[in-house]
Amino acid sequence: MKDAELAALAQAGDRDAFGELVRRHAAQARRVARAILGDPDEADDAAQDGFLAALRHLGRYDPARPFGPWLLRIVANAASDRQRRRKVRRAEPLSPRMHDAEPGPDTVTDRSSFRQAVLAALERLPERQRIATVLFDVEGYSHKEISEVLGVPIGTVRSDVFHARRTLRTELDAWKDWRESE
């Protein structure tokens, strides 16, 4: 069954239909939220907020358009809101960045450390670039779909993906064996 059909059923009160939508899009939504927030628990809370907001406003979903970008836009907004609130709550400056304490690439080979390096590199990107490159390189969304998620022109998405990739590649190329570890 297509997402749009499930969305129509969910709007009519079909709990199972909404459950199927959640299962289909859970992984994507969690990744996008984590790309914005970093912390996995907060990301899950934001993703859940996004799903519930989407459920409440299913009437505004246009079934002629793909469901994924519509949902991810809501999730990204929920995560961004949390990020803003978190920044306001923080009275002290941000903790030192992870990469300052990272061991050199030659001394670390395990996947866990590489994963931390990827997250740290991602954290240093502006939020919109983070979302754009995750949606493009991980989730396989087109520039046009990403422009709908982010609410920016396609050209801006191309630029964001370009800058994000360039930064990530520069930082991750220092890890000599990261490609082999994949």
């Binding site: 709990r15 409440r56 995750v134 993906v161």
Partner: protein, 129 residues
Amino acid sequence: MSDTSPFDHRPDPELGRALEDALSAPDDERFARQVMAAADSVFGAGGSDSWWQELTAWARPGLVAAMLLIAAGAFWIGSQMGQRGNGSGTGALGDPLSAADSEQLGVPVLLAGGEAPSVDAVMAVAFEY
């Protein structure tokens, strides 16, 4: 990875795998169960987009439509009055005194009087228009 141009319009599988591996959290099923548990309160509350939410969503366009309707009505009434005034040959507003003489009531007559008009007079003018 560095052998792929950042301008490339295709997804970069290596970068994609690295990001996916770093960002993916375990146990999507458990997460889905948590979401559904929270969603039960929404379903219990009458599902999505209850009638008052729909009403709220329509409030602003409804107000705009009402204002446009009022403006159009005022314009129409104004143009009707202008035509009547032109027909009597006494200018746009007409001559309130001559109107009074002919026992024909109108808005200018009501406004020209020194005292507040009676309810009957106001009703008569309203029905006339």
